[in-house]
Symmetry: C2
Subunit: 317 residues, 2 copies
């Protein structure tokens, strides 16, 4: 097939908005809005692989694991990750199926439960950085550290419940299910994969994989996915139409096109927030360096226009 392959990385707002509680109904509504936009891109002729975050869903599951631990055993973080792939994958394939149908497209959609390999030598295992789950008081946090072996940190100094569990956020090394993902894509299927950055696994001496208590950045994993399917374009959707320098300051400057070198320079100058625009720019740089092709950062509602070159921030070789 000659049609271009596009990997789309969806941000958290595509599934749950910050001001929502996160009921099933709310999430289906948001996913439907997202599905309409993705269906337009499919209609324009692109072959699609979709990945997504799972922060709010995994956060809710982690709270549920803790609250009910006396009644049913809390499952590990890796299992919660697998659960959210089922949850968000279903919502997405369900609504996207309908929105494609409305566009007259019969392409099947398949959610692939995806493991992503990490190295247990990754430096982040020595100094975990990614906060997960609920906020705790200092006493609660230290108790959990003692009883469950959690690494805890004060992430919001000065407030009572300012502590959280932190877990490693290691680099993704490989998409374990890449062969199946490619089979499906080559068979004309729209694939939803590597949700929440993938289920993090490490490779053991005997060749088996074990789940690890970690969270992989979804944009970094999105790049590995783009690599695995040899994507022609990597589209990162977030809540802004374009990337800015000096964002929210008087001297704010919009960026339409950026070379890899310019992007790296801006990144070093600290223009992009860690945990927000930073990882997106990094993932985009990696993709463009590797592929010699284009990565695009834009908002959900401008996705197709951005793919067509009409808006968004385009990162180029």
């Amino acid at each position: 097939m000659s049609r271009e392959v596009l990997v789309i990385a969806l941000g958290g707002n595509a599934i749950k908005q910050a001001d929502q509680r996160g009921t099933t109904e709310e999430q289906f509504h948001n996913v439907d809005v997202t599905a309409k936009q993705i269906a337009k891109i499919a209609k324009a002729g692109y072959r699609l692989v979709v990945t997504h975050g799972n922060g709010p869903q995994a956060g809710a599951l982690l709270i549920q694991q803790e609250e009910s631990d006396a009644l049913v055993p809390a499952q590990t973080l890796a299992v919660c990750g697998a659960m959210t792939q089922g949850q968000v994958g279903w919502m997405m394939q369900n609504r996207l199926g309908f929105r494609l149908k409305q566009e007259g497209i019969k392409t099947p959609i398949c959610t692939v439960v995806t493991q992503v390999e990490v190295s247990d030598q990754d430096p982040d295992f020595r100094d975990p950085s990614k906060p997960v789950g609920p906020f705790y008081t200092k006493e609660e946090a230290l108790h959990l550290a003692k009883t469950k072996g959690y690494v805890v940190k004060e992430v919001k100094p000065g407030i009572e419940k300012g502590w959280r569990r932190v877990v490693p956020s290691p680099e993704p090394v490989d998409i374990v299910e890449k062969e199946s993902i490619n089979d499906l894509l080559n068979g004309g299927v729209i694939v939803i994969a590597s949700g929440g950055g993938g289920i993090p696994v490490k490779k053991n001496g005997d060749g088996s994989y074990s789940g690890v208590e970690a969270v992989i950045d979804k944009d970094r994993a999105g790049f590995k996915l783009a690599q695995a399917v040899k994507a022609d374009k990597f589209l990162i959707l977030t809540d802004v139409e374009k990337v800015y320098l000096n964002f929210n300051k008087p001297e704010q400057k919009v960026l339409d096109r950026l070379t890899v070198k310019e992007s790296e320079a801006h990144l070093e100058e600290g223009h992009f927030l860690a945990g927000s625009m930073g990882p997106k720019i990094e993932a985009a740089i990696r993709f463009v360096r590797w592929s010699g092709k284009e990565a695009i950062i834009t908002s959900l509602d401008k996705a197709l226009e951005a793919v067509e070159g009409k808006t968004g921030t385009h990162i180029l070789p």
Copy 2:
């Protein structure tokens, strides 16, 4: 390809045993034991589609949804079903991947998040029959009926917590993701699909599917899956090596081979328990009637021997 396609339906004990709490570690251990047996069948040359129950996993999730409802919104039963597909699918593909590797087999494995269509005209919607989630006192049950609209029933009369929520268990009509499942199978992939009987959805007037609060019997859904992939054999794994007449009575009689007519007669005579051997025999009958081929009921540890005709109960045209 000429190799035979085998659909394997795994019972609950393949994932969590009745005397276990259901920690992640326990479940991985059980799944590994299962994976060893499935790997032997793969090595014997069969192309495999695996489906599984989710009773204990969904039960645990439902308890967690209720216990934490004040903190995070309880997700629907359909979402919990989707979550368990991610959870069990991951555990299975993880351990099966390893056990195949040990047998020198490189076949990829893929878990497909699967929706199964039901009819909202199904009679079970008028008289729900399937108990789900925790046990309640009468007062708790009636309170939930009032506040959440649950249908509740006294399922164990005479004991204090003898009440449960009951949901419909409608007939599966179609496997929504059958095209992707066949793509993967034809591409040489071992597919894990329709876990927990599938995520139950109904078709709306506009062509969209919505999740419904129901549970589809996994053996019935297993038959629909066998139909969707045109299976050559349908293997139902449970905790007994063979099916018996007058089970656990002095006149107990083992069954090696049964025709469809004999099976139906025994079923009518009430030899097989509803919710236990009954649905397995029914699903086997449906498969044999439809395909003119063979269904086999046996235990996990005898799976390959049964496929080779050396043991198990074989249901034939």
